[in-house]
Amino acid sequence: MKFIQIINKKYRQVLGLAAFISVIAVFISCDPALSAFEFDLPEAGSIADATPPTANFSATQSSIDYRMYNFSNLSVSATTYFWDFGDGNTSSSLDAVNTFPGEGTYTVTLKASDALGVESIFSMTVDVVEPEAPEAIVPFIREAGFEDNSPGSEECGNGNMDGRDCWRISGGTIFGITSSPVRSGSQGAKFDAGSNRVAYQALTVTPNTDYIVTIYYTIKTSPLGSAMRLAILGNAISHASEAEDAIIASAIGDNQDDANEYLPLVLSFNSGATDTIAIWIDSNNVAESRIDDVSIMLAE
């Protein structure tokens, strides 16, 4: 009895000890150290990368040197970058700058990769073009010499191509045609005395550019006090009554020494904030006047 009791007691002790040891063993064997996984296959229990790298970039041409481009890296989820600019240059920085050798089309490629070695490639073609300094427009004046059938005057007025159609304006009386004296060709424009004649033509110009307009005029020697006016309007008008308010520059020619000699009347102006101006010619109607050969050029 006593023996069994002793055995039972020991048995319980052994059981207790065994239980204790097994509990400890369980804790030890559940050690999360990597060595516990040494017999697992690789990839077992791992999750695939949900955000692999995506390469992307944008390019901006420098305003200082047309061959230099700034590349802005817009890639997602990447750690290393390799740029190939298509002209032999490469780079491995995040954002890149490259100066191309000259005009041409280049294919720029960005390879973005992450630490798992997954790569993403994005390409863009860059067209390197030297920006042209825009030539200022020198407008073509139709019927500049008031000749019949002047080139380009088919689109003007009433289509009879008499050297005056491109100078008409509603509400204004068109000038007459004279054949003597003229400065060049066979016709000129005649502004009769006591009759309010006008000439108007709208032209397309480059804004903020200096131009010089020239006309040639002659006035009969009497009565004295007669004058021709050459003016520039700051915008196109649709009725002669709007002319006076639109004038941005004007010049007067009043030499009456010789009724047959044409003298130049020159007007410089700046086109300002508009791309449409108009030439306006009238006279104070004292003596019969003539004009010929209207021209426009860029001021140097």
């Binding site: 305003s63 200082i64 802005s72 817009l74 804004p207 903020n208 550019t209 904030a273 508009t274 791309d275």
Partner: protein
């Protein structure tokens, strides 16, 4: 007979009795059903729209408040109150909207003009280009200006209560504010939710859709044109025709289109009667002088109308230890090209002579004396108005419009405008041509610390070059994606996946 009579009576009485009994029974049995029938049919006819949603009669709610023009004018003034933002002195809740008072963090401090004094806190993220989407100042500005947009849209939603005489003007004023807020947000964040009406809590498609910039700019241009058509130049602290014209010119220059129109707008403003202050210092300390086109008004008293940013730019006068401190690069540029503007634009910090402070917005005109911290009035409650648009900005925009995207100009009109700005600065040598770089430099020294530099760099396509060099020289970490702010993380979270973040964040 009596019997029969009685019988008859009885029988009729009986009949009546039986009828009544039947009737009562009917009623008893059917009463409940009939009552229900009555009630149900009654409910179809009796309840109006507001039966379950009554208008509170002892309180005012926004739905019904605006019933006449005077009440609508409250909403108009409210727009400017929204732009003013809260002064932390008056309300220290960090979740309050600080609006224009924190604009310098996300503009000037992200450029090469200013930095923090000691590189601490969230503010340092701006100067060293380590900005995180959780930045509280970015979120502050974002929610402040969406609040301003709401205030403007409330005016527009209730515009019909205005009198015929004033309706167009009030509409123009609200549209100007709406355009102003959208313009800043779209330049800072890129594609943004567009607030073309009051956005309700349930309008999640509007709140969390990033409308493409081009569409936002269309709305901005329409709003500014409406403002130009209906406003006059009566105010400097409220919207005006000149302010709308100048802002529209800036929009066109930012988009790189309509240069001739921008030039015409600038010329209209230049000919509206504004004039440069002869003394540069007076621009900032002579309130509402002739050069100011649009400024946000503040008053030193009451504190709720004061501004706290002037104090933040000093040494531990505000809540920070010093922000918007002048970089060495900006000081060097001012010294080299500023003329007499340098002395009025920055100064050495009296308390820390290795550092430099902005001199344009000393609180209430007081520069703090020899120590930099001695003031008669409370420097944290400053009344200095914040200038948004002034004439010399328009003169330089005039040059930019004439240049029309080219590399230089020598048009006389441009030279005249440029010369005016430089003459005032004491730089009277005659200018014969202006290059893009010269214009950018002139803008930097003329408008330093007025929240223009970052936008100018971006508009002139010089941001990546200049800021990369600046960042490399100072050990910061600029990358090109830093030119846009991150959409605030809270908005991303609220959108539950609808809002996409800007690249690089």
């Amino acid at each position: 007979m009596k019997n029969s009579y009685l019988n008859f009576e009885h029988s009729s009485a009986n009949l009546v009795r039986r009828l009544m009994l039947t009737f009562y029974k009917t009623i008893q049995v059917r009463t409940f059903m009939m009552a229900t029938l009555v009630l149900i049919s009654g409910s179809f006819f009796s309840c109006g729209d507001n039966y379950l949603d009554p208008v509170p009669s002892s309180a005012i709610s926004a739905d019904v408040f605006y019933t006449n023009e005077d009440e609508l004018l409250n909403a108009v003034i409210n727009m400017y109150d929204g732009i003013q933002g809260v002064n932390a002195l008056d309300n220290s809740d960090s979740n309050a909207n600080h609006a224009i008072q924190v604009e310098f963090y996300i503009t000037e401090m992200r450029s090469d003009n200013t930095k923090t004094k000691s590189s601490e806190g969230e503010a340092a993220q701006f100067e060293n280009y380590t900005l995180r989407p959780t930045n509280g100042i970015v979120y502050d500005y974002y929610r402040s200006f969406y609040d301003v947009l709401k205030r403007a849209n409330i005016v527009l939603a209730n515009i019909d209560v205005a009198s015929e005489a004033n309706k167009a003007k009030i509409e123009g004023e609200a549209k100007f504010i709406r355009a102003y807020a959208h313009f800043n947000l779209v330049r800072l964040f890129g594609d943004i939710p567009m607030a073309d009406r009051v956005i309700g809590i349930a309008d999640t498609d509007v709140q969390f859709t990033r409308t493409p910039k081009a569409q936002v700019y269309d709305l901005i241009i329409d709003d500014l044109n409406a403002a130009i058509a209906s406003l006059n130049n009566a105010y400097k602290n409220r919207a005006s025709k000149a302010a709308a014209q100048a802002m529209l010119a800036k929009v066109y220059l930012t988009l790189g289109t309509n240069y001739t129109e921008a030039q015409v707008l600038c010329e209209a403003v230049i000919n509206s009667g504004f004039a440069l202050e002869p003394n540069f210092n007076d621009v900032f300390y002579n309130e509402n002088n002739n050069e100011v086109i649009f400024s946000i008004g503040f008053l030193a008293n009451p504190a709720s109308d004061s501004q706290g940013f002037s104090a933040e730019w000093l040494n531990s006068v505000g809540r920070s230890s010093g922000v918007n401190y002048v970089t060495n690069e900006a000081a060097a540029a001012l010294d080299a090209k500023g003329g007499n503007r340098a002395a009025y634009s920055y100064r050495i910090d009296p308390a820390q002579p290795t550092q430099k402070q902005v001199a344009k917005y000393f609180p209430n005109g007081e520069n703090g004396g020899a120590t930099g911290v001695t003031f008669n009035s409370n420097p944290r409650a400053a009344g200095n108005d914040w200038i948004v648009l002034r004439l010399s900005d328009v003169l330089l925009m005039h040059v930019e419009a004439i240049m029309a995207g080219g590399a230089s100009t020598s048009a006389q009109a441009a030279l005249n405008s440029f010369q005016k700005v430089r003459n005032r600065a004491g730089l009277t040598d005659v200018v014969t041509s202006i290059t893009k770089e010269e214009l950018l430099d002139e803008r930097r020294v003329e408008l330093a610390f007025e929240n223009h530099r970052l936008f100018d760099l971006i508009r002139f396509n010089a941001a990546q070059d200049v800021l990369s060099a600046f960042s490399a020289a100072n050990g910061y970490s600029f990358t090109s994606t830093d030119l846009l702010l991150p959409i605030p993380q809270r908005e991303i979270n609220l959108s539950q996946g609808m809002l996409t973040q800007n690249p690089g964040y």
